[in-house]
Symmetry: C2
Subunit: 351 residues, 2 copies
């Protein structure tokens, strides 16, 4: 990895390096790993040979003050997360991430050392997920930090999973646990507020490692794709949960022209999520349904796969698909049924 302790480099200013020098320095340790990457950084464009695979492409734009607050997001984590949210979209197509490009708008207050931190996180994510950093763009920014990442992935022809394939009676499944990232953010925001009121205040984050990690350093669930392949289960539809379970399940229902019955007491939640939600008087179900940023996989599988699914404890069955005419329903723990509505918070508060 990039040596952030290199004193000489840390003292170099971004202006001194210039655009080309900057990219070169930040990426000099980047070596393409994949045979599909014919040419990485250093030409007008990257070049790939994807062979007989289908290719997927996704992109996300992250803006300071909208998607992240540098006060409580370490730059290394920010770089890591910025990559992961793109890879999560690739994985949600049932594809294997392969390459990314990274474009950065650099605000005047950023030092070269800060950029190195950001790239350390970006390159760590590349290493973790076995993807090649193949290009991008850098620019000065009049205002805040801008991060735009594009990711590619490959899939064997015929295996890509869309949002529109859910069938009546299919089981609705989700990986991991939900609502943790939202509660992690709520905790960080609470502690930031207390710090702003009293600068001698020490943030209390003990006992909340899981929810903070889900917020600051989420992972793409490519491991779930591997599990599903081992179980010989091909999902009929899939999406990653970025906006919240409600919103993203409604995307599947709308695109697949079906309804759903989602069971509130089947939704997997971590004990830290429930504990903090309780102490902050936030309903944990609200966090799980509408919180977003979980980056877990939400998918549907034929009902005859129910037995097989029991072998993978990382997957929970949380409901089933119905006829569109039956609507999109949430079944509460008292067996009362309410309409499922989208209340994603992404546009206002988050990624």
């Amino acid at each position: 990895m990039w040596n952030t302790k290199d004193k000489y480099m840390s003292e170099k200013t971004i202006k001194e390096l210039g655009e080309f020098g900057l990219i070169k320095k930040l990426t000099e340790d980047v070596v393409p790993m994949h045979v599909s990457t014919r040419k990485g950084i250093g030409d007008d464009a990257a070049v790939f040979d994807f062979g007989n695979n289908e290719t997927v492409l996704t992109t996300d734009l992250l803006l300071e003050g909208i998607h992240f607050d540098l006060m409580y997001v370490p730059l290394k984590h920010l770089g890591y997360k910025a990559v992961v949210i793109n890879l999560s979209d690739v994985v949600a197509m049932n594809a294997i991430p392969r390459q990314i490009t990274v474009s950065i708008g650099i605000s005047a207050k950023m030092t070269f050392a800060a950029l190195e931190e950001l790239y350390t996180g970006i390159k760590l994510a590349c290493k973790t997920y076995n993807v090649d950093l193949v290009g991008g763009d850098t620019s000065s920014s009049m205002t805040g930090l801008v991060i735009s990442i594009t990711a590619t992935g490959i899939a064997t022809p015929g295996t890509v999973v869309y949002r529109n394939g859910a069938k009546v009676n299919d089981l609705i499944c989700v990986s991991g646990d939900l609502g943790a990232s939202y509660m992690g953010l709520a905790l960080l925001q609470r502690e930031k507020k207390l710090f702003e009121e009293d600068s001698s205040f020490q943030p209390k984050l003990d006992g909340y490692q899981h929810i903070i990690e889900k917020q600051l350093k989420p992972e793409a669930r490519n491991d779930i794709l591997v599990s599903l392949q081992k179980l010989e289960i091909q999902p009929t539809s899939m999406i990653d949960i970025s906006d919240g379970l409600s919103s993203d399940l409604l995307h599947i229902c709308t695109e697949s022209k079906v309804g759903c019955r989602l069971y509130a007491d089947k939704i997997p939640m971590h004990e830290e999520t429930e504990k903090l939600a309780s102490s902050m008087n936030i309903g944990s179900l609200v966090a799980a349904l509408n919180g977003g940023e979980d980056y877990e996989l939400l998918f549907t599988v034929p009902v005859d796969k129910y037995e097989k699914l029991q072998q993978e404890h990382q997957i929970s069955v949380i409901g089933h698909i119905t006829e569109a005419s039956e609507g999109t329903k949430l079944v509460l723990s008292d067996d009362n049924t309410v309409p499922l509505t989208a209340q994603g918070w992404r546009a206002e508060n988050g990624w």
Copy 2:
């Protein structure tokens, strides 16, 4: 194209539409044209089947206040240019543009009608260059407008042209004319300044259509690729001129480990470029060498193609490649020779 006169839509605010509604409205008339586009807008990622082709991928980040000034750049032109500069990078690899993604950070002051204008330009470029708009991301921006575009292209295996293939004695060629975009910007900036000093001032742009168009609505030179193919000429190296002839020719020399002799009086310039440069006391050679944003193709071809090149008046031979030990030289009109140095203005002033 999008109907910008639809009164009902013009009155809708961006907030009312929300992120999903906004993308849907802006792209509802977008229909993929290419068989390689298996899935466009509407899922976690776009899906392609590139068959036996090699694929290229490039991306650019454009920020308000750094890369464009909304005071003299009409939004429709901005959208068009933002696409074209990416397609120009694809073309510079000797590849055919196929798909783009567009991510937009929207400042609070932007209306839906303004966004429509931007997208009208984006979609016009897609139509002109026969590329599919397949996805992207939208977000609110705390500050200025942010545009991040990624473009794909395809090439028959073995035909991609890199920066590093120039050989000693190769001819250095350039398409179109140089320096026009820089002089167009100089004109727009001069008129803006006069307007700011006296708001009753009417900008005088008559007689400078070519240089203004090169600045506001440049084109990617895919037509030159077609000409070269007809002439059965495969360039040995190629780059598009975004930073300026000097800087971009030096990229080719550095990557190819060669030197060059560039002849000042062979550099093609439009009469408007020379006329305005003269009236503003700017050396037109400086504009051609260092101006940038020409988006013309700079390439090298074997010397035995000289006769064939004469058939294409859009291509000028401006020098030749030498041994690296001979250095990178500019031959002036008085036969004096000076070192060629990069003085691209991109990082400070331009795209």
